[in-house]
Point group: C2
Chain length 386, copies 2
């Protein structure tokens, strides 16, 4: 079986940025190319998959063509992938499969989103369109609302409380404070989180990820070609993708995402690892409750067990399994279509021992990226390793 390596990964800062979407993507592609040890020119990339929800409509159709153009990728095959907030997780899978097939030797997976130039109402529209339309969006249910319902149910089934969520937020902000690329660089206390205004009970301000601009890119290469570009490749050891029903009320459970479980099983099976082998993970924490549920669905904790695991410090830097050392969606930020390959950017650095001081996960050889679309209808999981 052909092995596929990540030989470069780079991103813009996440946050409220002055640049437009195209310029952000060009910056991320350049950062990824520059991160390749031997230095890579854009012309080496043979095909690219670009994740974007397309927020704001600056270029709604054929977006990949325009984004690629500014990043000096034009003339090669460019694909726009849209799976809501999992867009670039799926773009990464597409690029992985393309290299694995032998048809492409060097592929780029990336993502971009420009959101902060929109008015509040327009932002709500573009965030809302990835929710189910008939039963959720048009009935007024926002993503904050969906995750509020999920959190309430988790509280009821497992006795989780607001302080359990607050601990996730505090950890995220602590990690992000050491990440120069993060949207939020400010540490917060449990008290800050507990006393912040409510957004959608039981979720308060610090339980919610921000609306961010940003772009990310990763460069994948076949084993043979990878050795030309770096002596320290990061291998894609496993990849899994799965789907669930879009409307949350139709699912079997509110406190577990079936797509996460299925995608993670597939990725770990392909990688030949169990969850105990994973030493660092970036998980999709669009809300604090989502991190707890991800830890449970991925198998790091039993159902209902992630709150204790977090309280015991197991998910912090230096803990048993550091989770979201980047700060996660929660504090690193969440530019929808850029988030999935953003997780890869973080893990690429962690596995190569290049993470920023104070949030390094030392000695990690196996990492997991978990990217969710919407409230869990789509999910892509990747296992990376050195």
């Amino acid at each position: 079986v052909a092995k596929v390596a990540v030989v470069g990964a780079g991103q813009t800062r996440f946050g409220a940025l002055p640049s437009g979407g195209r310029a952000l993507f060009a910056e991320a592609v350049q950062a990824a190319l520059s991160s390749v040890d031997k230095g890579m020119a854009p012309g080496e990339v043979e095909e690219a998959w670009i994740g974007s929800v397309g927020t704001g409509g600056w270029q709604l159709g054929n977006l990949a063509a325009l984004a690629g153009e500014e990043a000096a990728l034009s003339s090669i095959g460019l694909h726009r992938v849209e799976n809501a907030c999992a867009s670039s997780g799926f773009a990464f899978r597409d690029a992985y499969l393309a290299v694995k097939s032998g048809a492409v030797q060097v592929a780029l997976a990336g993502g971009l989103e420009k959101m902060t130039d929109l008015s509040g109402a327009h932002q709500r529209y573009w965030l809302g369109v990835s929710g189910e339309t008939e039963w959720e969006r048009l009935a007024g249910l926002t993503f904050g609302g969906v995750y509020g319902l999920i959190a309430s149910r988790h509280f009821r089934e497992f006795g989780t409380g607001r302080e359990d969520l607050a601990r996730v937020a505090v950890k995220a902000h602590r990690n992000a404070s050491k990440n120069p690329a993060a949207h939020f660089r400010k540490e917060i206390s449990i008290e800050d989180a507990m006393t912040a205004p409510a957004v959608s009970e039981p979720l308060h301000l610090y339980d919610c990820c921000p609306v961010s601009d940003g772009a990310t890119a990763a460069i994948l290469a076949s084993e043979e070609v990878a050795r030309k570009w770096t002596d320290s490749p990061v291998w894609v050891r496993g990849s899994g993708a799965a789907t669930d029903l879009l409307a949350v009320h139709q699912r079997e459970s509110l406190t577990s995402l079936g797509a996460t479980k299925k995608a993670a099983r597939a990725a770990m099976r392909e990688a030949g690892v169990s969850v105990r082998d994973v030493k660092v993970a970036e998980v999709h924490d669009c809300f604090t409750i989502a991190e707890l549920i991800a830890l449970e669905d991925l198998g790091f904790a039993p159902a209902g067990g992630a709150a204790k695991m977090t309280a015991d410090g197991e998910t912090g830097i230096g803990g048993r399994i550091p989770v979201n050392p980047s700060g996660g969606l929660k504090a690193k930020g969440h530019p929808l279509g850029a988030t999935g390959t953003g997780q890869v950017c973080e893990l690429f650095k962690q596995l190569r021992g290049q993470a920023d001081k104070g949030r390094e996960v030392k000695g990690a050889e196996v990492a997991l990226a978990h990217n969710v679309g919407g409230s869990g209808a789509t999910c892509a999981v990747h296992v990376l390793g050195i």
Copy 2:
């Protein structure tokens, strides 16, 4: 190198249809599954790529999850691919690469679009968003306008005239009149085309494809698995994808699409065939001028030579190289995201000798599908063969 087969392909009728987008896609998937000789259940499909521009916003984000759900494809990995009118040509390439990689044994590529429930202004918006935003759409240039400019330039460079375009339309309507799945089933005369009202000079009514609803799907399988499902597989012999600058004024030429040339070269090289080996083709004739240019860019005719070739009857049924035996986008119809795999549906039948009476291309063993996004910024070409 792993071989990839198309073992099934099916579609809805194209036209102004009462069903919504989800129902249309479910119907197309069912038609594709039923077309598999041994009969296939939805549960056999391991992953799917779904092309859609997402017209109308009935589900703009995470559309693949919802479309797959109604087609009984939920729980597997579903990817929405958006490359304007080439969305499902690129979805087909993604599915091809996935099967070729060995990670997936049975994949589905498809597409859907629901357009006729929109008001005229809303249709113009959704058609326009795949054009370049800054220089074209916001300046008032529609796709009819872009192709009108292209046609004018072609007239000037090569002496092409309105009657040359009319012959393309007459052929398209003749073929579509024998295709029960086509949007237009009515033959037209050269005089009808010449005297029809102007849309965007020199393009008149019959030079333009209609706004259609429709959905399409193709089922791809690895060689090993394909033999279980059919004794008559159609092989994907070559696949190519390429991109050009989005804004037409920035391109080197108005009368040639660089992305077509590059994608075709790649697909034919992989297939090990030359254009002379191709015995039937479905090309992207969103406007009649686009068919002439496609024939020239693909190499069926020299630059400026496609009008004569058409006048000589070489592209008609029974001609040297029948082009758009389905009726093409022009008369079979053009449900944006569904068009690319719709071309595959036609060629699957043609190569297996199952095309409708009166428009069969007898004895064809190599076929070519050419799918263009927008005014040529993206292009996917596939060579199929038996």
